[in-house]
Symmetry: D2
Subunit: 98 residues, 4 copies
Amino acid sequence: MKMEHKRKALNGLKTVRGHLDAVILMLDEERYCPDTMKQVSALQGSLERVNRILLENHLETCVQDAIAEGRTPEIVDELMETMRYTSALTGPTKEVKL
Amino acid sequence: MKMEHKRKALNGLKTVRGHLDAVILMLDEERYCPDTMKQVSALQGSLERVNRILLENHLETCVQDAIAEGRTPEIVDELMETMRYTSALTGPTKEVKL
Amino acid sequence: MKMEHKRKALNGLKTVRGHLDAVILMLDEERYCPDTMKQVSALQGSLERVNRILLENHLETCVQDAIAEGRTPEIVDELMETMRYTSALTGPTKEVKL
Amino acid sequence: MKMEHKRKALNGLKTVRGHLDAVILMLDEERYCPDTMKQVSALQGSLERVNRILLENHLETCVQDAIAEGRTPEIVDELMETMRYTSALTGPTKEVKL
């Protein structure tokens, strides 16, 4: 992995861990459900950003190497399969104009 | 349905239809894939907003009536089941602070 | 909160914490990115399920009470606003037939 | 574009158009909201599958060429930016085991 990607992704996950502990406490104290729900959504958003860093790293390392070595079909299949496990490549956006 | 919700949701879907025709044309003309992908994502976002209007209408009409009539468990089960078909109640957010 | 919902949601979050520690280790050991990405997606899925439990609890307690007391508009506005922070009410589904 | 990808993506979008017309009719006839919501979610799912075909095509053509020509950073930046407009690279999954 590229050092910068590893560092950023690790920091992201460790931040999630701290945030998660705070959300567990919110739940244990029975804070208002919508407030807790927003925090759980925020955790999902943080994990999403980690996954984007991992994808960027993968593209710049393994995918690049595979394509250079003529293994495009295999690496693309694997990439599409990885994203199949993830729910959504795309989804609601608001800003895009034709 | 409340008239305002029906009007907004119908307008939303009709806008999607027009936008969709434009995207079909983009694809037929083999425009640059990332540009087409952004438009497809925008379509998904528009549909998402329609679904939120439908949910709001459902809560203010059928769910309200059901709860008033003591049928909370049934209506909540149905609502959770509806959202199970939808992929995600929650997901990435960026802005929420603890 | 209903005890069953609290228990399930807390168990869910604690499971996420254990899983998260395992994913941090995967990343630290520089395991293959697509494998780590799938685990991060699985974490997001687990959080999603916690949020659904919290929503169910909210509907069966606060929303029910608010509607019974004639405060439907306020509670629905708040609920829609909570879900606005979350990325998606709906999203890709595969199974639904017309 | 590869012919197979173009054909599949066009077919997908045209199917969405027909399905969309049916959903507009459902809404106009004021069918039960949860039923309409499920159909709107199904439309989003169909668009999602089109976007995956477009991504696959993009990877196998433009991204492959760019990497072969030493333009990895530019093409990866553009790809990440395209996916930024889309809501989610990843999200809830259920099946993945560590």
